[in-house]
Amino acid sequence: MATLTLREIQKSYGSLSVIKNIDLEVADREFVVFVGPSGCGKSTLLRMIAGLEEISGGDLIIDGQRMNDIGPADRGLAMVFQSYALYPHMTVRQNMGFALRLARVPKAEREKKVAEAARILQLEPYLDRKPGQMSGGQRQRVAIGRAIVRNPKIFLFDEPLSNLDAALRGQMRIELARLHEELNATMIYVTHDQVEAMTMADKIVVLQAGVIEQVGTPLQLYHHPANLFVAGFIGSPRMNFLKGRVTGLDGTGLSVDLPSGARVALPVETATVGTGDAVTLGLRPEALRLDPQGPLGGTVRLVERLGGLTLIHVDLDRDGPVIVQIEGSDGTAPHQSVRLGVDPAAGQVFDGTGKALPHLVRHPLTH
């Protein structure tokens, strides 16, 4: 059992407020990812949970107990650092057993736990090496092993994969997901990479400038982003944004006119907007398709053929550039004129303040 509750958590350095009133619940055995651009306060928040950073205000509650004033070693947490922070003069075995040694755990038991962690992480052949003699991926696993050995209530990860190359990162993502299942542990993971967030999280917390923008499952964030920031941050290629004006409302949604005169109808709640209001249309690249009868017209600028997917960059007439993603390989060539259709169920409308109008058609996997 390990649950974490943050209540109006704040952090300021002098007059600079870095974390502003964050409320969050982390359930037992949940894999929670904090994601956001660099400098948004993810690491600071994680380090406050770890006890490495003073909490300026609010309550940090682990398993029902207020932990604000408990030292980092006594909170029952373990952290994996971005730089791995292995002790260079110690062997892998000593690195992993260090916490147990400080806690005066008997040698036999210590050895057993280290061996168990080494087995889980396939580190057995390297136990007597020093970190300097290992590759980045292996060091990463040692850092994780050091956390596992302590059998913590909650694992904390601060951008653990950002020093690895792309192939290894993909591999470690899978390994971490496997580990989460095998250890049955609560994990909090910080990253600026939305792909890591999408692939590993049970729950994603999107942060910006010390404020939570949205909390939800990966698919909730993807299909029903709460605002322009989340919509733009989650998903690759990025969501296309088109400026427009509301021209009609009824119980089934609203229609938006774009500068080119094209009209798009979307099924969203209309309670907070009126006719003539400026809105932003958000269309995922896969919500657009090549369609000779479609409402949007433009010229192809660039085609990226990924084999299984094709990304077509289109400059719309007067409405701005968009990216269209279609399945399979496609023969569309640059400079060609095309027309684009819109899948209304996958489109978003954001009001003048950037807030999303709730969709009337919820994606089936986001309930």
């Binding site: 770890a50 006890g51 490495l52 030292g71 980092p72 070693a73 006594d74 947490l77 373990a78 952290m79 650092f81 971005q82 730089s83 922070a85 292995l86 002790y87 260079p88 003069h89 260090f98 916490a99 400080l102 806690a103 020093k130 300097g132 050091r146 302590r150």
Partner: protein
């Protein structure tokens, strides 16, 4: 003074070559034809070392006393025999090692503690750092004079004044504790050096490592012994090596304060050689002392370079 110069010169060359050896990225095979380009500097360095060395060796086998020109001639190993049977020589050898060992121990231990202390944030840290490093820039002769006349003099010195102001008898430091006084002065001179090197090393410690240790349950003391101290190993080796080079040949501080006395209480090998050559004018005996100094330097160098090389490998 050229006689006692060999030891120091040897040392410097040894130190430089060790540093060069371990700081260059990877040993590369020398391209053919470059030998001729490095030959002149190698030749000059070789002459620079070989000529005084050979002359010292030569003189050490001669009867050569400036006060007794008539007695000149080949001496065989008489100079060495005379030196080895001279209790002053063994005393000076002992003094050299005591001086070396104590100053090394004091500067490394206190240098490490102070480095950790000065790494902590506290108000006025930058000024404090500047002040603590300052003694290193004072000339040896000057600092010896300051300590002798301004600090430790029983009548005019600050320490004497303090003692009198609380009603105690002032201590005549150089008469009563001559060796301790010299060690004190040398430590004062070399502590800033050790601190400077060790402070930069402490500052280069990855702060995430320290945080990882904190999460692993290491308090300040455990962090010091398990994280900071191992990290400083390399820097401590460098401090020991460089200080050894200079401490084996300490001269100015002794010359200015005690002149090797009282008796031979503070005569180290360098001062003994000086006394032989320029007080007793026995060039032959002094040269024999010089040769032994070179041997001593090389024995210490051998062990030092070996242990340090192992340290630097990691």
């Amino acid at each position: 003074m050229t006689l006692r110069g060999h030891g120091a010169l040897f040392w410097r060359v040894a130190a430089i070559s060790v540093v060069v050896e371990f700081t260059k990225p990877k040993r590369q095979a020398r391209k053919p034809g470059t030998l001729i380009l490095v030959a002149p500097s190698v030749a000059v360095l070789l002459l620079w070392m070989i000529v005084p060395l050979v002359m010292t060796l030569w003189f050490s086998f001669q009867y050569y006393n400036l006060l007794n020109p008539a007695g000149a001639g080949f001496a065989g190993i008489d100079n060495y025999r005379f030196l080895i049977t001279d209790p002053d020589f063994w005393a000076s050898l002992g003094n050299t090692l005591i001086l070396l060992g104590s100053v090394l121990a004091i500067t490394v231990v206190f240098g490490t503690l102070l480095a950790v202390l000065y790494d902590q944030p506290f108000p006025g840290r930058n000024i404090a750092r500047l002040l603590v490093v300052a003694p290193f820039f004072v000339m040896p002769t000057v600092s010896a004079l300051i300590w002798k006349n301004l600090m430790m003099h029983p009548i005019y010195g600050v320490l004497g004044f303090l003692a009198r102001s609380v009603g105690l008898e002032p201590v005549d430091w150089f008469a009563e504790y001559p060796m301790a006084s010299v060690i004190l002065i040398l430590s004062w001179e070399w502590l800033p050096f050790a601190l400077l090197i060790l402070l930069t090393a402490v500052q280069s410690l990855d702060h995430e490592q320290r945080e990882a240790a904190r999460m692993d349950g290491a308090g300040p003391i455990a962090q010091f012994f398990h994280i900071t101290l191992p990290h400083l190993g390399r820097a401590i080796s460098v401090v020991v090596m460089i200080e050894t080079i200079f401490l084996l040949t300490v001269f100015a501080e002794i010359f200015v304060t005690t002149s090797g006395g009282p008796g031979n209480a503070t005569t180290n090998l360098a001062f003994l050689i000086y006394a032989r050559a320029l007080i007793q004018f026995d060039v032959g005996g002094a040269s024999a002392g010089g040769v032994i100094a070179i041997l001593l330097a090389n024995i210490v160098a051998f062990f030092l370079v070996r242990t340090i090389a192992r340290r630097l490998e990691v």
